[in-house]
Amino acid sequence: MAPSLEVPDNVQDVLSNPLKAAPKLVAPEPEHCPGPESETAGQADSCAGCPNQAICASAPKGPDPDIPIITARLSAIKHKVLILSGKGGVGKSTFTSLLAHAFATNDNNTVGIMDTDICGPSIPKMMGVETETIHVSGAGWSPVWVLENLAVMSVQFMLPNRDDAVIWRGPKKNGLIKQFLKDVEWGEMDFLLVDTPPGTSDEHLSVNSFLKESGVDGAVVVTTPQEVALLDVRKEIDFCRKAGIKVLGIVENMSGFVCPNCTHESQIFQATTGGGRALAKEMNVPFLGAVPLDPRICMAADYGESFFDSWPDSPACTALKSVVRRVIISCDDSGGANDNLEGSVHATKIATSGEMMIKLPVDFERGTQGCKVSSQDPLKTSPSMKDPRGTLA
């Protein structure tokens, strides 16, 4: 049977027993608790006087016994990339799905997406697989395959109803993330993209500690140009530094909007402090590129289609492709050079400069098999932006 959250925790119960996930404790964790799982549990300064002290101190210490299992499970994955941003709604999930589609255009690549946003999973919707469920075999949970070489894992697949709220405190979320890594049969993969929720909290700490052993290539940080967003993104980069995660670079999303009527470019989110480029310089990390705001990206995400396939000529697509190329190059720099990677760099180069056959997302209803796509001067094709909905629907 597919795992599901069929009997979600009674919410009243969660509310009245805030720390249910750590049932061994006799009292709530104090504010400065080092965490019952940590090395210093029961020995830290703040443990003095805590009723849990003896329990924590006698709990088994040392590294999590599941970490070697995770490392073994993920050993056939060549590159693991985190997509982070301190700010919500800047396009982490959109960028993750676009990046996955871009990698997957090369048939030799196998790509996986792990959606660690437990409370607001968006990846299944963007991939058009919202209604799928997970299958379980002896080898583990099977992820949902969007394309032959593109797999997705998300909490959404486990919800009995699409709109159910997942009202979980931190420890429970960590448990699920661990299962995604430990129990999911990822198999051999070239890229595993980890999409994260906004912030710097439980999910991020867990992903980092679980993946530390198996080695993460680095993190792509997504931002929007305005200072309100940069403020939070700066915190995220600070977090990466503290956690020892390499920052592959910053992508600036939603930078500039070209009016489909008069082609006047306006800065909807004004980069009053220099935007992502200045932040990259300030924090001394690479700037991967700026992607303009395009209503058609949003439309493609709502319909669960690949933007690359639907609108290969748009300026946003060109910008995205150059960002993807830089991500691949920086992954390559961070070690683990391999043949497939060379192939994918090559393929992306072709995609931006000439003509190639690309596979459409699995779309059985329409029976499309593949289509011919040519990359022209993006500016010449901008009038086609007029009625995105009419063409997409």
Binding site: D163, D164, G170, C259, S266
Partner: protein, 307 residues
């Protein structure tokens, strides 16, 4: 307990990886509008890992004062009876950080303790409305908030939640989860605000639905809650909070039927340094008129419930 002097508590909630739908900017504008309507307003920002309220009010360098019995919130402006403006103050974790770039990397229990402390230890003065700005999601902060409010608030004090969304399906899919959270925790939903619905090109006044349109309204209908209104994207508002520039519009700009074009003189005036209060400048923003109506609806709903 320190919420005693607060008449109505309004939660500003949004769910999701769809943070960035404008919870904080809607909170800010709702607070300014309530204040313009003569009410005294407080804002409590419980987004611990990404506090934006201090930046939006341009008081990033402010610090919280410790007084006997608790923390004093940071004042934005005081009450002024001549134009009928109510006082506005706020509290955020941003005021407690040493460096603005510092990451707050906290696990659940610590966040819970902080939220609780914010709710019990802040010395609010007499307030008509306390707006609580939340982070995206339905996790620790939200559970603690609901828990503490259920336990500590006086009956009838918690007026309910204003839910903010953007129009696209990817966002509403997540916000629906938040609506279900409210249902399950017994929090009344005052209504839904659709943010970022449409962008008016400053060059040709053509309105483009950058993130499509109408999603919020459809969602409100589906859940049987009130639709409070849609708010377009206004780069002038972004400029206002980012740089403090007074909003000006090309002559003939119309939003929702109001002509809000500014004269030439206003344009030159806007470029000079303007030291008046945020609330004064906000009156010139196109969104101010839209929020006047939304605020009216919120006040009616809250007062109807309190009776």
């Amino acid at each position: 307990m320190s919420l005693d002097k607060v008449k109505h508590i309004v939660l500003q909630k949004v769910l999701s990886g769809k943070g960035g739908v404008g919870k904080s900017s809607i909170t800010t504008q709702l607070a300014l509008s309530l204040s313009l309507a003569g009410h005294s307003v407080g804002i409590l920002d419980i987004d611990l890992t990404g506090p934006s309220i201090p930046r939006l009010f341009g008081i990033e360098s402010a610090k919280v004062t410790q007084a006997p019995g608790g923390w004093i919130p940071v004042p934005v402006h005081s009450a002024n009876s001549t134009p009928g403006v109510g006082s506005l103050s706020c509290m955020s974790l941003g005021f407690l950080l040493r460096e603005r770039g510092d990451a707050v990397v906290w696990r659940g229990p610590k966040k819970t303790a902080m939220v609780r402390q914010f709710l019990t230890d802040v010395l609010w003065s007499e307030l008509d409305y306390l707006l609580i700005d939340t982070p995206p999601g339905t996790s620790d902060e939200h559970i603690s908030l609901a828990e503490t409010l259920l336990k500590n608030a006086l009956p009838g004090q918690v007026a309910g939640a204003v839910v903010v969304t953007t129009p696209q399906a990817v966002a509403t899919a997540d916000v629906k989860k938040e609506l279900n959270f409210c249902v399950k925790t017994g929090i009344n939903v005052i209504g839904v605000v659709e943010n970022m619905s449409g962008f008016v090109c400053p060059n040709c006044s053509e309105c483009t639905n950058v993130f499509s349109k109408g999603g919020g309204q459809v969602m409100a209908q589906e859940f049987g809650v009130k639709f409070l209104g849609s708010v377009p994207i206004d780069p002038q508002f972004v400029m206002l909070v980012e740089t403090g520039r007074r909003p000006v519009y090309p002559v003939g700009t119309e939003i929702n039927g109001h002509d809000i074009g500014s004269s030439e003189a206003a344009h030159t005036l806007a470029d000079t340094k303007d030291s008046s209060l945020l609330i004064e400048k906000y009156k010139d923003c196109s969104l101010c008129k839209i929020f006047r109506d939304i605020t009216k609806d919120v006040i009616t709903a809250v007062e109807a419930q309190a009776v």
